[in-house]
Point group: C2
Chain length 165, copies 2
Amino acid sequence: MPAKPRPSERPTPAPRSERGELPELARLDLGTLERRLGYFVRRLQVEIFQHFIAALASLNVRPAQYSVMVLIGHNPGQPQAAIARALGIERAALAKMLHELERRGWTQRLASVRDGRSHALFLTREGERALAGMEALTEGHERHLERRLGGRRYRELLALLKDFG
Amino acid sequence: MPAKPRPSERPTPAPRSERGELPELARLDLGTLERRLGYFVRRLQVEIFQHFIAALASLNVRPAQYSVMVLIGHNPGQPQAAIARALGIERAALAKMLHELERRGWTQRLASVRDGRSHALFLTREGERALAGMEALTEGHERHLERRLGGRRYRELLALLKDFG
DNA sequence: TATTGTTATACTCTATAACTATA
DNA sequence: TATAGTTATAGAGTATAACAATA
């Protein structure tokens, strides 16, 4: 549904984009946002997460849950604090998430033999299977991003960010 | 506070980072997250937003509020729907935010003369001043990001993302 | 019929504090 | 005294549906 022109109600003419087209779709002026890295990073992150959630809708898995499953899968036996620290999330948030993952039968907490305070985390057999399913869907999601961004931009972004992080 | 080594409680040796150091700080294996653009974009976005919020703490302005102020400032007289669409946020969320911005005396809603349904948005005189303050602090924030990421990576990221969005 | 702005609801995320049990 | 895990709370962000007024 094509929108109608938006009225500018002041003598001050609303600035137009540099491309010179008519304001039919009201391409607004981003102003100083054009120079804010956070603005563009946020827009991209939101788009990526939305597509990720849709891609994994059949498993009803959110990005944060996926990242926890991956980390436990690659680091079995680690305590919760180590996982939380590695992902930059709060211990409290992780505890709540693990409750849910355990309820689904995907993760397991075993009392640590070396430190009575900590829980060693593992995936269950079923959790391994679920993770395999997530990885298959996530691969498809990643290939979608590659097409969406263009292979070159995708690779350059990944290299820049990975090198930094 | 240096942490102690984390126990791996299974025969399976926990994978270590490629850098060969001892697992004193338990650098965990990111596994397949190493190939997920969304993971790195999210980590960067969170770091940027945290610093932004701290940098503008004296004004108590959140990133979304700042982006709305900038857009209204550069596109005076636009209706709410146009602002919401340009920023990719919900009309409902914007309505709530404008309530707050209006309460602070920074924005103004005038009934549109051309469309009885819509409100033309403007910054007040005070809003213009507040925005100027935000821009000064945001510039400092942006220069911090440039140092943090390295000037080259900062510029490359901004160019890649801006060109895409 | 469709759109604008609004309100209400629900759910997720985040941040914080307080608590216990261990170290 | 510090840490690990837990619980509870509050706040922000997001998504959705419903509604009145207007187009």
